[in-house]
């Protein structure tokens, strides 16, 4: 074997090794994988909050059930679920290269997010007007208010961050700086926010409904 052959063989094996080192895990692009890792970490955050809520609720002998109506929370759920669907439409149009429609659907999703936040704040204002604050609860243990405002507040913070991200990424996608993959990654985050709400509603609202 000549020196040239050995050199070529060495280059090939180095290329294969580099490919192995740089090949994305599970054939998922690095940016998307980063979002999935963030989602897994954030799942732990929300799960920690909800388990702590369950722990305290279970250990409190007189847990209040202050919610009389489910109308507002039902509308909020409908709005958030619909926003996930509109986000899917945005990603599908983006993947087909229809930039105008994709941008429009992203903005519709953002509007749904803003509507959800407004409804959420209205819900909070109603409770605050009845005397509930982070450290005071007129219906019994103050832990209820602390947990309610903390968990729903953390979720509202995620929705607000999501709306900002949707507007920022949507605008940059429209401007040509971002592509369909970036919209899809933002969509993953938005669906995650929706997914968390599916657990917050039954545990924090529906289990505390007065009969």
């Amino acid at each position: 074997m000549s020196q040239a052959d050995l050199s070529i063989q060495g280059q090939v094996s180095r290329t294969q090794a580099t490919d192995l080192m740089t090949a994305p895990a599970f054939s998922v692009p690095a940016k998307k994988m980063a979002m999935w890792l963030f989602i897994i970490a954030d799942t732990a955050t929300f799960a920690g909050c909800l388990v702590a809520y369950g722990f305290i609720r279970n250990a409190s002998p007189s847990w209040p059930r202050p919610f009389h109506s489910i109308t507002n929370v039902a509308i909020m759920t409908l709005v958030l679920l619909t926003s996930s669907l509109t986000m899917l439409f945005a990603v599908q149009h983006a993947q087909l290269g229809d930039k105008a429609k994709a941008f429009r659907w992203v903005m519709i999703t953002a509007v749904f997010g803003i509507l959800f936040a407004v409804l959420h704040i209205r819900e909070w204002m109603g409770m605050i007007s009845e005397g509930a604050t982070l450290f005071h609860n007129p219906w019994g243990t103050p832990l209820f208010s602390s947990l309610f405002f903390s968990i729903t507040g953390l979720h509202l913070l995620h929705v607000t961050g999501g709306v900002i991200a949707l507007i920022a990424v949507g605008t940059r996608y429209q401007g040509g700086r971002y592509n369909a993959d970036d919209l899809e990654i933002t969509g993953l985050y938005w669906h995650f926010v929706d997914l968390v709400w599916m657990f917050v509603v039954p545990l924090v609202y529906l289990l505390n409904l007065s009969h």
Binding site: A25, F26, S27, V28, W36, I39, I40, T43, A44, A47, G48, V51, G54, F55, I56, N58, A59, S60, P61, I70, A74, T77, L78, L81, T82, S84, L85, L88, F89, Q92, L96, L188, H191, F192, D194, L195, M198, F199, V201, P202, L203, L206, L207, L209, H211
Partner: protein, 103 residues
């Protein structure tokens, strides 16, 4: 109709189908909230429905159904974290059953 259009319409139909399923499941949670059952039973039923909802959202909205490797990666990590968080329940029951004011 082009192949892209066919793919798009079938994708949208699937997404709308999953969205309707999620709405129905969310509705079931609201129905459970008005059932005359104990808090424990209510919690169990609502949690089962929420897990089904989350599974649908993960598989179809977040496209985990399309990537087997990533699906197992996410499931194993998430389930491990969720199991890890359950260590405190025995203490929670001790608080409610093992202190005088609880009775």
């Amino acid at each position: 109709m082009t192949t892209a259009d066919t793919h798009k319409s079938s994708g949208i139909a699937k997404d709308v189908g999953v969205y309707i399923c999620l709405l129905v499941l969310a509705g079931i949670q609201f129905v459970i909230a008005y059932q005359d059952i104990s808090a424990k039973q209510m919690f169990e039923r609502m949690l089962i429905v929420a897990i089904i909802e989350a599974g649908l959202a993960l598989l179809f909205f977040m496209h985990l159904a399309d990537n087997r490797g990533l699906r197992w990666f996410v499931i194993i990590f998430t389930v491990a974290v969720l199991f890890g968080l359950q260590y405190g329940w025995t203490d929670s029951y001790r608080l409610i059953n093992g202190v005088p004011w609880a009775h």
